[in-house]
């Protein structure tokens, strides 16, 4: 297993190189640059700006310089405020990760719960309710869900706060009580976890129904095991494998796909920063966040593959 993990990690390096190369040249190919604006800058000012950020060099040299710096873990500067991209990613991701992890936990807990309840009450009222939730959750985009939650539970009922993130924005504030404001966390977490929880509920329901019809379940019951024990010990565990399959992509989605929720709730996460960077042609930030996202997805998939082997003893990696 250790050898397998090492090989997978080594494979991530060329993957990231490919992502960096494609992103670099695509980024420079799209119309407009970081200093393109209606009120065109005079040539000397444009030259001074390009010189400051080394954009006056030939593209191939910029590319090689970027790879060299990347090899030294230097992601360069953001054009927005001349801040280190690594600093911005670190800060943004700290917030996005909190949002993503909380949403992941809620999605898993709620999705599994609904899936199990639906399966155990097949074609009953609880099943229909679960299926209804799964359908609605999968159909409603999170920008609509987020806006709906804001209007109902904040603007109308004033139950929650909606400006900014309710957790610490800096690592150093993690254990500072005043940095935590749960009233700001509830709505974005619900909005972000809606789709994955619906997805998980659907998968869990289907998987559970399939497992409940397996011979070994029938055998367990025939041997006189209590229904609770059959479900908890045999059915749920074996139903989890399809859920595990999607856990990686769901986790990656939650920590990379939160930019709409970050926008609706003004959360200073990495998702919003990425979208801003693309719109502003902030080359350093685009490269940094894209590579970071690629790394997150790659490692999330690796983690899921390792989990497979843990949960299903039949799976072995050579």
């Amino acid at each position: 297993m250790t050898g397998y993990i090492i090989r997978r990690i080594l494979w991530i390096i060329p993957v990231l190189w490919a992502v960096a190369t494609i992103t670099f040249f695509l980024m420079h190919a799209v119309p407009g640059g970081p200093f393109t604006q209606d009120k065109a800058l005079p040539d000397p000012i444009l030259q001074a700006l390009n010189h400051r950020y080394h954009l006056d060099q030939p593209l191939w040299r910029q590319y090689l310089s970027y790879l060299w710096d990347l090899g030294h873990l230097d992601l360069g500067l953001s054009f927005k405020g001349d801040r280190d991209v690594s600093y911005l990613i670190q800060h943004g991701f700290f917030v996005t990760a909190q949002l993503g992890l909380l949403s992941f936990c809620v999605a898993m807990a709620w999705g599994l719960f609904l899936g199990v309840i639906s399966a155990l009450n097949k074609n009953g009222p609880l099943d229909y309710l679960g299926v209804l939730f799964a359908t609605v959750g999968a159909s409603v985009p999170n920008f609509i869900a987020g806006t709906f939650l804001v209007i109902v539970f904040a603007v109308e009922l004033h139950w929650f706060k909606i400006v900014g993130w309710g957790g610490p924005i800096d690592w150093s504030d993690t254990f500072t009580a005043s940095a935590w404001e749960p009233r700001k966390m509830v709505l974005p977490v619900i909005a972000l976890s809606l789709l994955p929880s619906a997805y998980i509920a659907r998968i869990m329901r289907a998987s559970m129904l399939e497992v409940l019809n397996q011979d070994y379940i029938r055998t367990a019951r025939a041997k006189g095991l209590a229904n609770n024990v059959v479900i908890l010990r045999h059915a749920i565990k074996n139903s989890l494998i399809p859920v595990l399959t999607v856990m990686g992509p769901i986790f990656a989605y939650l920590v990379t796909g939160s930019f709409i929720i970050e926008n609706i709730f003004s959360i200073p996460g990495i998702g919003g920063a990425f979208v801003d960077a693309v719109q502003a042609r902030d080359y350093g930030m685009i490269m940094g966040t894209t590579l970071f996202y690629a790394a997150v997805v790659a490692f999330a998939n690796l983690a899921v593959d390792v989990l497979y082997a843990t949960v299903d003893p039949r799976i072995r990696y050579g």
Binding site: G32, A48, G92, F113, I162, V186, S266
Partner: protein
């Protein structure tokens, strides 16, 4: 057994999350207490008339803004940069809103108007003595001289360097040596690599120096009027610089732990991507001190989000989109709506290299097909004002709509003009492409224009919606036929929306307007030695530009709708100056009313 425990843990987890949500929802609701303020947000209240102010410990406001790119006034580019910088820094003169809504540069750090040499080229400004920065250091004439040099410093690459450059290169005041210093790195086609010593020599050669601690002398290449000088020396590019701080901390000098300021506020906290917090600068005595104890500027990019945050009582002042403007009778938010006059004219820009659009009668027909009253009502909730003019309302030289009635809505004449151009009832007219930025308000305007041209001229246009940078690239490369654009005023002088935009070969003249009569008026206005002559020449240039529709078809002067909590006092309209943040040109005027 283990599985049973896991199952219980799962259930407990779900219950805990539900409890967490419930407890949070039922939390302390003090922040949501509705204000019991009196008066309306739109009332113009001077900073000195704040007898209704709440006690100092209640003087805290949270306002929405886009996130600034830089906090260094010599590197600023965008409205949101300038808005926050105006809280932190001030210059020799201060643009101050007058009772008629216009903004005039009144002495702030300057002791009075400048004295001017007989040839009109050397301006001497006395600085008020005894004024200090937030760290207690004295404000000196040398710092103002350094500020001007920083404005021309190629390392800063300030987009507003042109304010200090000569007319010959598209500039305004023409400080001696600024052209050479700012272009020390050359251009893309002819780059230069000066040594540090050469750069220092270029900076030293600039025509700005401190005669003594309180006397600044600025030498210009060409004579200039006092009013124009004062206008530019009230702007961010000329704000004083603390080179001792800059050299000590480099680009990090604007971080909260290093930054020093000479404006009404000082920075106490900055969380990139989230907010910046300001507190009163205790050493600011050049103007009215602020009454606020803290001003938190929350970075919210989406104005619709800001509107909802305002309704949830988390933001005290926010910009809102035109589409969110409360217009229904009985809408409580109507009492909290404040519409600032904007310095932006919005137009349909026409590519004059296009053989169809090069025809005068075609452009006139397009203009006469637009019902501007209806358009502004439908697409902006009447936040914008119908405009036929180019020099915006509030700007010296503004002529209003009356002189330009010939281009106003008249469907019969529009049809006739199109017919005269060779396209009777639109027959044979090619489908034109209208390029716009992909935003809801521009889409609404584009849809309106498409319908108006179809209904009134029987011609078709296609709409090309692109992101901001792509749109600008298409404009700068002159790769468009019709284009929703315009001009956002940088400073209150009629030359600002004309120089470079309509003179032949002008840097921002991408619609290729080329008319000897317009060129002559621009030259005349730029060389005028009195402000009156300066304004008159640019008025005449405007008349030519609009009546000939030389690249632009004006249709609206935009407004800036804000929601201002009733508890906030001292919020003033900002005249003709467009600000990225709410009323940021006089943050020191704001206060929280008693009983809020």
């Amino acid at each position: 057994m283990t599985l049973l425990k896991q199952w219980r843990s799962l259930l407990l987890g779900v219950l805990a999350l539900a409890a967490f949500a419930a407890i949070s929802a039922c939390g302390d609701d003090d922040d949501n207490a509705s204000s019991t303020a009196t008066g309306t947000a739109g009332a113009s209240t001077s900073a000195t008339a704040a007898s209704d102010a709440a006690p100092a410990d209640q003087q805290h406001l949270i306002v929405q803004s886009l996130e600034p790119q830089f906090y260094d006034p010599h590197r600023s580019n965008f409205e949101q940069d300038i808005s926050v910088q105006r809280h932190l820094f001030r210059g020799l003169y201060n643009l101050t809103v007058q009772s008629d809504g216009s903004a005039k540069p009144l002495p702030l750090y300057a002791a009075g108007d400048p004295t001017v040499s007989a040839d009109g080229k050397v301006f001497t400004v006395k600085i008020k003595p005894g004024l200090k920065w937030s760290d207690g250091a004295a404000v000196t004439a040398q710092q103002f001289a350094d500020g001007v040099k920083e404005g021309c410093n190629p390392a800063n690459a300030s987009p507003y360097t042109y304010l200090l450059q000569t007319v010959a290169v598209g500039g305004i005041v023409g400080v001696v040596g600024c052209d050479d210093y700012s272009s020390a790195l050359g251009t893309k086609d002819a780059p230069k690599t000066p040594t540090p010593a050469e750069l220092t020599a270029l900076a030293d050669a600039m025509g700005v120096k401190a005669v003594d601690a309180t006397t600044l002398e600025v030498t210009l290449v060409d004579p200039l009027g006092v009013a124009a000088f004062k206008n530019v020396f009230s702007l961010w590019t000329t704000f004083p610089a603390r080179l001792d701080i800059v050299s000590q901390f480099g680009d990090k000098w604007t971080d909260p732990e290093h930054i020093v300021s000479n404006g009404p506020f000082k920075m106490t906290e900055l969380v990139p991507g989230d907010h910046v917090t300001l507190a009163p600068n205790p050493n600011y005595t050049a103007g009215s001190p602020t009454k606020l104890q803290s001003l938190k500027i929350q970075f919210i990019d989406d104005y619709s989000v800001g509107a909802r945050d305002f309704q949830n009582d988390e933001i005290d002042i926010t910009r809102i989109p035109d589409t969110d403007v409360p217009i229904d009778q009985g809408n409580d938010l109507k009492d909290e709506l404040l519409v600032y006059g904007s310095g932006r004219i919005t137009t349909v820009e026409t590519q004059l290299k296009d053989p169809v659009l090069a025809k005068d009668k075609v452009r006139l027909a397009l203009s006469q097909a637009i019902n501007r009253d209806e358009m502004t009502a439908v697409t902006t909730s009447s936040v914008a004002q119908p405009a036929l003019y180019w020099l915006v309302k509030g700007l010296p030289g503004h002529q209003g709509n009356a002189p330009f009635s010939s281009i106003d809505f008249d469907p019969a004449k529009a049809k006739q003009n199109l017919s005269d151009a060779g396209y009777p009832n639109g027959a044979g007219f090619p489908s034109l492409e209208l390029t716009i930025q992909d935003t809801p308000n521009r889409k609404a305007q584009a849809d309106y224009l498409k319908k108006a041209f179809k209904d009134n001229l029987n011609i078709d246009i296609t709409i090309k919606a692109v992101d901001s940078k792509t749109r600008s690239q298409l404009f700068n490369s002159e790769n468009f036929q019709l284009f929703i654009g315009g001009w956002n005023l940088d400073y209150p002088d009629p030359e600002n929306p004309i120089v470079g935009l309509f003179n032949t070969g002008g840097g921002n003249n991408h619609y290729n307007c080329s008319d000897p009569a317009i060129d002559a008026k621009i030259e005349e206005g730029s060389r005028a030695t009195t402000f009156e002559a300066h304004v008159k020449a640019f008025q005449e240039a405007e008349t030519l530009i609009v009546t000939k529709l030389c690249g632009v078809i004006p249709y609206m002067q935009e407004g800036l709708p804000y929601l201002v909590n009733k508890k906030v006092g001292g919020v003033q309209p900002n005249g003709t100056i467009d600000a990225g943040g709410p009323g940021t040109w006089c943050g020191e005027c704001w206060y929280v009313k008693a009983g809020s």
